[in-house]
Symmetry: C2
Subunit: 86 residues, 2 copies
């Protein structure tokens, strides 16, 4: 069984209210190191069999159409994660 | 400027309604390869200066307390992503 990971982040110029909320909460919990936080999404897609180039291409296309909103988000990574433990 | 990435996924035994919605939508768009989808979160935390072991430890602790709900989510990755383009 194969696994593809798709990572999606808000575009840099887009306001990210979830990230703003996190960066505001961190110092209240004692974490004063962090100056900026962005929150995105991470998908794990499983396939029967191996992650072929065709599967990766389909995942890339799904990432750009269904898994992200190209107006406000970038697909930052699509990769074969079969060898990575779940 | 350094960047730490934190990745959080729903625990395997927890129902993931967002992932279920995606796996139901994929075949309607012609993507029939994928048998299962899980949706999690990906955070990019920025720090002034380098990502030291102390910064990574703080990010791990923030990941386990603020960025994830340990009842239903696992922190799957905390790593220095300074060298990775944004």
């Amino acid at each position: 069984m194969g696994r593809v990971v798709v990572e999606v982040m808000p575009k840099p110029e887009i306001l990210d209210p979830q990230g703003k909320a996190v960066v505001g909460a961190l110092p209240r919990l004692g974490f004063t190191q962090f100056t900026s936080v962005r929150q995105g999404k991470r998908f794990e897609l499983e396939v029967e069999g191996d992650v072929t180039p065709e599967v990766l291409a389909a995942a890339q296309q799904a990432a750009e159409t269904l898994l992200s909103n190209p107006i406000i988000e970038d697909v930052v990574n699509v990769f074969d994660a079969t060898q990575v433990p779940a």
